[in-house]
Amino acid sequence: MRPEIERRRFLELAGATTGVAALAGCTDDDDGGDTPTATDGEDGTPTEETATPSDPETREGYLKRANAVLHAEAPWIYLNRQYSVYGKSTDVEWDARRDETIDGYAIEPTGDRLSVTITQSEMDSGLDPHDHRETPTDNIVRQAYEGLLGRDREGKVVEQLATGFERVEDGRVRFELRSDVTFHNGDPFTAADAGFSVNRIVQSDVGGLESPQVDQLAGVTGATPADDGGAVIVESDGINPVVFSLFATYCDVVNKSWIEDNDAAYINSHMNGTGPFALETYEQDVKVVFERHDDYYRDPAPAEQLTIQAADESSTRVNQLQSGETDIIVNVPPQSVGEIQNSDDAEISAVPSTRVLYNAMIYNAEPFDSVEFRQAMNYAIDLPGIIETVLSEFGDPTGQPTLEGFTGYNADVDPYPHEPETAETLVEESGYAGASITLHTPNGRYLKDFEIAQAVVDEVDSLSNVDAEVKQRDFGKLAGELLDGDLETGPDWYLIGWGNATFDASQTILPLLTTDGALTSYSSERVDELMDQAQSTGGSN
């Protein structure tokens, strides 16, 4: 009886309203320590409205509705939000950030020691802040370089080199700049430096480099210093509603004359930023040592010296931490968490990251062209169980593409409950009973990716009317098939992870779930329409 009722509810909801919370009310085993609960405050009163509600006026409203539609139409099997799990020595005070970077300024050594060491898994690919696209390098260069805006630990936009930011008109924003900032080489920071930094990324003929970060500032066409010199004007083609979000995550500011006077080899082995730490020694592939920048425009950093080194093996990092040779280590695997928690000198610092793991189901391939079948896949899996057993609780269940805390997250949408009978009924209704499907997954690209894929496949396979198997794939090959812009060449069902450091729903939904997305597996008029409306509405950052 129950599945019947729920299905009817679903069909109502697929018309796109908000509340589907009541459908998924039984996932109450969300006990991951300080895990923020998705539905705090607004829980318990799902909106029962149906039919077409009056159009929401705000951009955020459109994004929320898109998320509700995407929950109901189930283009993915929604899996877990990944956690960033760090190990940290009790000699330092520090809390993990959501955006996967480690901010050396926030590390406070306790006792009389004033130097801090971080061990990550890999060293940088050169120190030019505009010539890379990877977290290990970001972690290093962002100790010395800063942006106009930045983010706090939770991901909220904060001012850095800018003291104010406003939208002057559609496609044109203005950042007021600090006047008390100097680069590490002593040059004062000016509006010309800010404009040059933007242009070096978005314009291929500026700054001796075609920056691979060009699409991180998507839509931005260039920047010019304002007439009064105390501000920079950034131009975009179109309205660019997320421009402040992009600047809070990307675009490190460099010194124009220093970049122009030096060659690539020099810029890649030296640093001249405005940040709290200045480069002391650089040993390529081995370690980077920073010293505190005492003329920093805020209070000087608590640590006098900051060393970043690398160890590829996670057990090596754990051992370094336990014997006091390092203060912070990245990517602690679940099997080592207990060991660190039991140690007197070290502890775990874990935080939900900006990365989500999902199983895409190609919308026009059988049997995934049936919404019932895709929903069934979501009902089939025991997501909290997978998070508990495979990830030792380091993960949050998701039920929509957008993560909690992001602009556009719909707090009224809960993850699908584990209901195998509902799943079997829905498979029958889809007309694809007896389907045989194969999940393609990389192995080792994301934390426990293969183990998660195996768990999903086991649970789907245990349905009486579906056969499922898992197929391990080389990540490079899989990525190539997904990125070639042709849905026909890729697998119909695959596991992949998506990081979105802009904290904005659009940067997940547009590329992955709209008809023209670069990595899309889905096409729905309703979603395309809502996203068009959202992206043509300015206002939120």
Partner: protein, 357 residues
């Protein structure tokens, strides 16, 4: 003597073909390995335009034969191209890692030789006694214990539990340590690509002689080197112990030993002057060949100890599909192997001139 020169020249020519073969095989592997390096340089969310930029900046779309010919040309001029990941020159990066790897390989060899030859001799001369059984058991364990497991266990025991040694890394190297006493004169580098390759005359005493710095650095260096060297040397120790034991047994049973004993030579003289000397000929060969293996085979040990040598570099390079860097590492490892082989052959030829024919 002329024949020795010819022998050496022939071996060197063969060695060059081996290195060329290594490069060719790497290019062939590149052809069959799936995945574009772009996917390892840029995240999934990079746009097609960004991917284009990355590929163009690295010449990724040039035909493979052109890349191959260019590479061989570069190699002949001592260049190894530019890393895909960081776009920095490969050759200086690879050579910068060479001292760390050589230190580890030599240290492991020293550990192995110092332990295994006495063990092998004792075990052969006191056959079936307790020391022989202990040595046999040890060598069995040594041969069958995987490196990575042994390394992790040693770290947990001696670094984490008892804190006798550091867990990993290499804060100073041999050259920095010696640099406290000896420095290279300002008129040029110690090693150059032109003849003579090594300018020992440029090595002069450091102006302020830093003896305490030498001692402090030396202690740090040895402390960090010890566990990796033991880890890497264990298999090797076990192997040489067995070899020494069986060689010794063979020699001790042969006619000339019986003759020496019959003419009344003291037993110590018979064992160590005659039997051991002949035993060592094959042992030296194996030690030499193993040294070559250690240069390339230290990959796992280097990873476990975060030892910044060629091994960790090649692992990072493989993880990023950074083909120029992979090639650079393999060319250097291959060349090292070939050089050691030639040296061993030469040594063997001097010890036993029959092989030259």
């Amino acid at each position: 003597m002329a024949s020795f020169g010819r022998f050496l020249a022939r071996r060197t020519a063969q060695g060059l073909f081996v290195v060329l073969g290594v490069v060719t095989v790497v290019f062939a592997l590149r052809y069959v390995t799936p995945g574009s390096p772009v996917d390892f340089i840029a995240p999934l969310d990079a746009s097609q335009a960004t991917r284009r930029r990355i590929a163009d900046a690295r010449g990724l779309d040039d035909p493979l034969w052109l890349q191959y010919v260019t590479y061989i040309g570069d190699l002949l001029q001592g260049e190894m191209g530019y890393s895909y990941r960081s776009r920095t020159a490969v050759a200086p990066r690879v050579f910068a890692k060479l001292p760390a790897t050589l230190e580890l390989a030599v240290a492991a060899t020293v550990v192995a030789v110092a332990l295994s030859i006495p063990l092998g001799v004792v075990s052969a001369t006191r056959r079936h006694a307790l020391p022989d059984k202990a040595a046999t058991l040890f060598s069995l364990l040594g041969i069958s214990t995987p490196n990575f497991w042994l390394g992790v266990m040693l770290v947990i025991l001696f670094a984490v539990q008892f804190d006798v040694f550091p867990t990993s890394a290499r804060p100073v190297g041999f050259l920095e340590t010696v640099g406290n006493l000896l420095v290279v004169a300002a008129d040029g580098p110690l090693v150059s690509t032109a003849w003579p390759l090594v300018h020992l005359d440029r090595l002069v005493l450091a102006a302020p002689l830093d003896a305490s710095g030498f001692v402090a650095d030396g202690r740090t260096w040895v402390a960090h080197l010890f566990l990796p060297a033991v880890t890497l040397g264990t298999y090797f120790t076990a192997l040489i112990t067995r070899l020494t034991r069986s060689g010794m047994l063979e020699q001790l049973g042969s006619g000339y030993i019986r003759a020496a004993r019959a003419k009344g030579l003291p037993e110590a003289l018979v064992r160590y002057r005659h039997a051991l000397r002949n035993t060592l000929i094959p042992v030296i060969t194996v030690v030499g060949l193993q040294l070559g293996t250690l240069i390339g085979g230290a990959v796992i040990t280097e990873a476990v100890f975060a030892w910044p040598g060629l091994g960790t570099l090649v692992i990072d390079a493989i993880n990023n599909r950074d083909w120029p860097l992979i090639q650079g590492c393999l060319v250097v490892i291959g060349t090292g192997f070939v050089v050691v082989n030639i040296a061993v052959d030469a040594l063997y030829a001097r010890l036993n001139p029959q092989v030259m024919e």
